[in-house]
């Protein structure tokens, strides 16, 4: 990643966070605004680079591991969360709807992972040539 790309990513994340914060404030949803601010601060503090940006094989490995850990935590969390919300929210439409949204999100994540795995497996020659 060069400096230009790095700045673009930072700007994109900052824009997204700003949109969430303003939407939270407008809709009087202070939890969303608060979580967005904290997440934004965390991102800007942890994912920063000095003058020179070198993306080498170790950094790529770190990114792979971070993405893997994020997936490994996020997928089961929303999977179990959606199931519980659907079960517990039978008499509460709001919880039920939230559970359904999370269920679709979990399915989307699983499909995305499967597709990425398949394409990357092909790209790196994991299929038999016989």
């Amino acid at each position: 990643m060069n400096i230009k790309r790095y700045r673009q990513v930072r700007a994109g994340v900052a824009l997204f966070i700003a949109a969430l914060v303003s939407s939270g404030v407008v809709q009087n949803n202070m939890i969303l605004a608060g979580v967005a601010v904290v997440t934004g601060m965390l991102f800007l503090a942890l994912v920063r680079s000095k003058t020179k940006i070198v993306v080498d094989e170790r950094e790529k490995l770190v990114r792979e591991k971070a993405a893997q850990a994020a997936y490994a935590i996020f997928a089961p969390t929303i999977g179990v969360g959606s199931y519980l919300l659907i079960m517990l929210g039978r008499n509460t439409p709001y919880l039920f709807a939230l559970g359904q949204v999370l269920a679709y999100l979990a399915l989307y994540l699983i499909a995305l992972y499967a597709l990425s795995f398949h394409l990357l497996n092909r790209k790196f020659g994991g299929q038999s040539e016989e």
């Binding site: 080498d56 094989e57 170790r58 950094e59």
Partner: protein, 65 residues
């Protein structure tokens, strides 16, 4: 896997920054390799050996687990 990167670097009068520049990696990566916290790829291992004018097996020593 053990390695002699730190020894070879100091005897070659190179700083971690200079070695990193020659290898095209970050200084953090050189630090991680020297302290055995990161095992470099085969390509980078050959590059490191070439910088010191050694063979790969002289820089990296395989040890049975």
């Amino acid at each position: 896997m053990k390695n002699n990167v730190r020894l070879l670097r100091t005897t070659s009068d190179l700083t971690q920054e200079q070695l990193a520049d020659q290898l095209g990696v970050s200084r953090q990566t050189v630090i991680a390799i020297e302290s055995n916290r990161y095992l470099p790829s085969l390509g980078l291992a050959f590059k490191i050996a070439r910088v010191f004018g050694k063979r790969v097996e002289e820089v990296f020593v395989y040890e049975e687990e």
